[in-house]
Symmetry: C2
Subunit: 442 residues, 2 copies
């Protein structure tokens, strides 16, 4: 799980060597844990026209402690650039993108953030406006590939009138918590209910499946560290890891095979004991990789059951029992493989792409008062699972992204924590990749 | 423009060497020109339940001359597999995918085709059905990566009741004309008008921009070869190439800079002289690659004007003048860069992603009786433009796809010819990649 190349390239001798040889030098990412003591660079907000993002950015900046600037200066380094391109409605007005970023992109500090704001393309007034707004995706994904130095670049479509609902998302995208998220497109619409978001995750009841290690463990640690009441579920065979974690963090262990017929009832019982869940994270997942011609029926069935069938059934059982609370959050862990497909993963990719359909549908149908459902799609994350991949393939997976390195389980956990935040009700039915802008896709 | 590695790996000595060294051995693709004399393997149609695709497949098979089988046999080799997964509505019924392909995938002949049929996910009856139908994307994209031997694998969502409208699309996807198309998702809905499709492109009036060479030239050659009346447009500076082509093929040359203020009127005049256009292909495009920080304003402006602003304005001018005929077709050439973004192409990717928004919007708005608009997004195509790319980057671009090679301009032309076919009215507002299932994406 150690990325020796990253360490080497950033050591004294190694840095000199990779420089002399012209090899890539990925920047060590700065996450929440490392960023704590760093002085905050100012945020810069400019716009192609209107000022609709001003008030929410002011609140985000104030909460983070960073000063907010409204005009670029050659003398400053910025921790984040936010450019509101909502008024780019034709080729002529889209030139503002060039005008701003041509200069300002050089002024972003290492580990800084860039967010471009647009309106949902289908709401644009004309075909040309929709073209430009949709075109922002190509612009942002290109800029993300140019940025380097640990800089993340995202596109945020904010439906007009819902600027306030973008606060938790802007806060996440401009923070070290989004260190391994880049080249992503997020939409913010009206939140279902206006919840009191000041407490964040503190006191919220969370269920995580596949909780004993890897990404699941990181989720447990993050939410428990923020004061959530965590029910950590894993298969009975993982009891030892699970109870160790529970003992360390004071979370509630729940040994349960989610694919068994009694799992629904057991989970509803656990939910009732907790007074209902505020957050459910469907993280449990397995791989049984083999080309379809060689795969056996059990390998197909078990992946489909664990990754898709069981969590869908449990979601339904919890909803039917009223066990998801008001302003609740459901987050599923999908995968880059579900987006792009992967050799040897017809079963896994079907199950993970299935979640893209499921979150879209369940969000459209509506799940209850203020309840949202979203998915994260991790790329190459450094876990025991990826450590088992043969060296050459693992190296390729690690490097084929704009950050030049694999992500950490905590990067996935941070992304889930944003989606699960009580103030994130405006984000619903979406899939966010946590992949350092992997080259791979569809 | 010669792929020496592909030639070497498929030569006697070279084939032995790449085999001994364990290097990849891309299969030379079999396009229409090469496939002419090859005996046709049967098509196989099976289904997870209903038989809705039977009649249309029978017509497609009859027209192509291939026998149609309805049950897999271990003793046969198939030129195409079509599996109708429309009735896969939950994890249990999705097992039919495994049951069929686990055996049948080995029975596909070299250069064969696989098409999975589904229903548009958002029309599925339940959330689990939507999950499975959307999940087919992951399944198909994985299977496409496993297939090799020049086999293309696609997903076709056919809205219930519109099976007949899928004929031209099935015909294309099962033919050598789709040699460099794989891992794609296409939707078929109701065609706007029931046109007489028997003549194909013969006698249809076509306008192509950027026509003098590369992909544009291939489009001109293909349509002219099928008896279309072609107006071949390019900038005045390309006059020599254009007139040579016009002389050879008997097409009408039109020297015009599409970014000039008089271009709209000139084009409408040309359209009127032709009695209106049946097909307009916006192929003209330029690159001015540079990172945004180093790009100058003219590089930004010219790419935006040529690739997006001018063709959008000309589309509007032609529509307003009634110069696009009934059952007309508009096809824009987008790019993989518009999908995934690309370093040094903030301008190009914005313009090309813009077309993804534009075709979606214009198709939704409706353009006239039976008129459709779609886009193709080429990946790495062997042209003078890509021949100018430095060797190492060119090699990476060539190999990073499921076919292990770059495409030919004719692959893009064939895809456009399918979308532009009078029988393709059920395909509207879509983007189809011509990329050999490039690994790159978003």
């Amino acid at each position: 799980m150690t990325d020796r190349y990253l360490e080497f390239a950033n050591s004294g001798l190694g840095g000199w060597m990779v420089g002399a040889l012209g090899l890539p030098k990925p920047a060590p990412l700065q996450r929440r844990a490392e960023a704590g003591a760093v002085a905050l660079h100012p945020l810069l907000l400019e716009s192609a026209g209107g000022g609709r993002m001003g008030p929410v950015l002011e609140r985000v900046a104030t909460a983070s402690g960073a000063p907010l600037r409204r005009r670029w200066s050659v003398d400053e380094r910025y921790g984040g650039l936010v450019f509101d391109a909502s008024d780019c409605v034709d080729v002529a007005s889209a030139r503002a993108l060039y005008g701003f970023f041509h200069q300002a992109v050089r002024s972003v500090a290492e580990h800084g953030r860039i967010v471009v704001i647009g309106v949902p393309p289908e709401t644009a007034a004309t075909a040309e406006a929709e073209a430009i707004q949709r075109g922002l995706e190509g612009f942002v994904r290109s800029l993300a590939k140019e940025a380097r130095r640990g800089i993340g670049v995202q596109l945020l479509y904010v439906a007009p009138g819902n600027e306030d609902a973008a606060a938790s998302t802007l806060d996440f995208l401009l923070s070290p918590r989004s260190a391994y998220v880049s080249g992503q497109v997020v939409r913010v619409a009206a939140p279902g209910v206006a919840g009191d978001a000041r407490l964040g995750h503190a006191g919220r009841h969370l269920l995580v499946t596949g909780a004993s290690r890897g990404i699941g463990e990181a989720i447990v640690r993050l939410f428990a560290g923020e004061g959530a009441q965590v029910t950590a579920l894993d298969v009975p065979a993982a009891r030892e890891d699970l109870e160790k974690l529970a003992g360390e963090l004071g979370v509630r262990p729940l040994g349960l095979d989610i694919t068994t017929p009694e799992a629904g009832d057991a989970l509803v019982t656990a939910a009732r004991a907790a007074g209902g869940f505020d957050v459910v994270v469907h993280n449990a997942g397995i791989t049984r990789d083999r080309t379809l011609a060689r795969m056996d029926q059990r390998e197909w069935d078990s992946v489909m059951a664990v990754n898709l069938g069981a969590p869908l059934a449990l979601t339904r059982a919890l909803l039917d029992a009223g066990a998801i609370r008001r302003n609740g959050r459901i987050v599923a862990v999908s995968s880059l493989s579900g987006v792009a497909g992967n050799m040897g993963q017809t079963n896994y990719a079907l199950s993970k792409a299935g979640w893209i359909g499921a979150v879209s549908r369940l969000a459209r149908d509506g799940l209850g008062e203020g309840v949202t459902i979203n998915a994260v799609a991790p790329g190459f994350i450094e876990t025991r699972m990826t450590a088992a991949i043969p060296f050459a393939i693992r190296e390729a997976g690690r490097r084929m992204n704009s950050m030049g390195q694999g992500g950490s389980p905590v990067d996935v956990a941070e992304t889930i924590a944003w989606l699960a935040h009580p103030a994130s009700g405006g984000v619903n039915g979406q899939v966010v990749r946590v992949c350092g802008q992997s080259l791979l896709g569809a």
